[in-house]
């Protein structure tokens, strides 16, 4: 052992001076723990399938063959395109090298092997999308729907990875913190009032509401994300994005027709403030509509059945592919 290592360890021992805990606080800590434990023990357990939305959207690459492709791509980038890949890191949406940047990000994510790292990378990518929008604004460039949707997608990807870690609440808190920071940064801008700004604010508000509510109930977020994935699988990503953008442009009421048309649902009354809007708009355990009606198209069962916290809302079918699921839970409200 080197002498310097011993010296450092001795210095670290300075931190061994730990104060005695206040016995009252120890008692209080235990009391709170026991209270929370009993409260949770009394709650009904809800099982949510932990299937990744992004797996379903074929964005995440997990197969062995895809890993090989990833490695081959990296090698080719290192050997032939290393400089291009580096140069691409400063590119912005619309630039020639921007697809290289996102490819490198996908590779980075694809190589991550544990959920913690995946989450860190995804959150970092979400921040990059925000920075890109900021730079575009600073340069008086047009910020289009594609940029906003890319930002939202990266954020929701971070959420997805976050809830698959061992510490979903901690990760959601981190996402919340980043979102708050981004909101602060946006509020510093001088462009309030332009249409883009309004849309982006609505997007941020929706994401913030979703994250806040998810911290209270991460399982509900899992269902929400899965629901969106199934919707995208059924009707295509473009349709999903249209509904989103209409919602952000005009508010939730104007999206009802869009969603209702697809679902043949009839009246739906949920404001955009509802953090779990998707489940609610598309037939959720809280509505009093006939849940059997949801499956008339024979396509939406999987997601709808993934969550039900209502006491009388049983009949949740096991369904992995989103097709031909059983009837959604009929809420007790």
């Amino acid at each position: 052992m080197n002498n310097w290592e011993d010296e450092i360890k001795q210095k670290l021992e300075k931190l061994d001076a730990i104060p005695d805990r206040n016995p009252l606080r120890v008692q209080s800590a235990k009391k709170n723990f026991l209270s929370e434990m009993r409260q949770l023990a009394a709650e009904t357990t809800v099982s949510v399938p932990r299937k990744s939305w992004w797996n379903q959207l074929n964005i995440k690459k997990e197969t062995f063959s895809m890993k090989l492709i990833t490695i081959a791509t990296i090698l080719s980038l290192l050997l032939g395109g290393g400089i291009t890949a580096v140069a691409a890191q400063d590119s912005l949406p619309g630039d020639l090298l921007y697809p290289v940047k996102t490819l490198v990000e996908d590779i980075e994510l694809g190589l991550a092997t544990d959920p913690e790292t995946e989450f860190d990378i995804a959150l970092n990518h979400a921040y990059k999308r925000f920075e890109e929008i900021q730079i575009l604004l600073d340069e008086d460039e047009v910020v289009g729907e594609a940029h906003l949707l890319a930002w939202q997608e990266s954020f929701q990807r971070a959420l997805q990875y976050g809830i698959n870690t061992e510490d979903p609440i901690g990760k959601l808190l981190m996402v919340q913190q980043q979102l708050q920071y981004q909101e602060e940064m946006m509020n510093k801008g001088e462009q309030t009032g332009v249409p883009f700004q309004n849309q982006f604010e609505r997007m941020m508000n929706y994401q913030a509401g979703l994250v806040d509510a998810s911290i209270e109930n991460p399982e509900l977020l899992a269902s929400e994300l899965e629901f969106m994935a199934n919707y995208s699988n059924q009707y295509g990503e473009e349709k999903l994005e249209n509904v989103w953008m209409n919602m952000y442009m005009f508010g939730a009421l104007d999206t009802e027709g869009e969603v209702g048309e697809v679902q043949n649902q009839g009246e739906v009354q949920h404001p955009v403030e509802d953090p779990f809007m998707w489940m609610h708009l598309l037939g959720n355990p809280l509505t009093e509509n006939d849940p059997a009606g949801l499956d008339q198209g024979g396509t939406t069962g999987g997601a709808q059945n993934s969550y039900n916290d209502q006491p009388n809302g049983g009949n949740q079918g096991e369904n992995d592919n989103g097709n031909n699921g059983g009837s959604g839970g009929n809420g007790g409200k």
Partner: protein, 180 residues
């Protein structure tokens, strides 16, 4: 029998949300998590908060069908670590300095002051370390965990943990040379 082996019997009871097992885990580890929080954050209030948050997340994880798969202690340290890292990102916590009882036990005020300054410096250096180096160093040299346990807590091979510890000590050395 090592600590890790002792804990193996607990897991199935914890997964079944057995309240006596949960209480036993709290009793066994809350003090250690307090120490861990205090060493890194330098505040009794924050250390108590660390205990509360760690065990609350532990309960919620188990309730949601997650939680430790084999070993309890590394899992708790990982949760505490995540929370502390989050605190670092939010704001730099205030260091309370050495605890009061420490002064009363020591007759040399100049030593107290020097120790106080040094411990604050070291805490600051630890805060500046890369996340994984800090975790590997603190769990080993301050918390006294075995490398095997640290490897589980960090979800890394033992060899990688050792390398991180070595690099962590080197980084601390460099940073202290600059500061002191």
């Amino acid at each position: 029998m090592s600590i890790i082996e002792e804990e193996e019997g607990l897991i199935s009871r914890l997964q079944a949300f057995d309240m006596s097992a949960l209480e036993a885990v709290f009793d066994q580890y809350n003090e250690a998590i307090f120490r861990y929080g205090y060493r890194l954050l330098g505040s009794q209030d924050k250390a108590e908060e660390c205990v509360a948050e760690t065990f609350s997340r532990f309960l919620h994880s188990l309730k949601n069908g997650k939680g430790p798969k084999k070993y309890v202690r590394p899992y708790l340290y990982r949760m505490a670590h995540n929370w502390i890292t989050d605190q670092y990102r939010r704001a730099i916590p205030e260091d309370e300095g050495l605890p009061e009882h420490y002064a009363s036990q020591n007759d040399h005020p100049e030593e107290i002051v020097l120790d106080n300054i040094e411990s604050q410096e070291i805490r600051k250096v630890l805060r500046e370390l890369p996340d994984n180096q800090r975790q590997a160093v603190v769990l080993k040299f301050l918390e006294g965990l075995e490398n095997q346990e640290i490897a589980i807590a960090m979800n890394k091979p033992v060899g990688a943990v050792k390398a991180l510890q070595h690099r962590g000590l080197q980084t601390i050395r460099k940073k202290l040379e600059v500061k002191l």
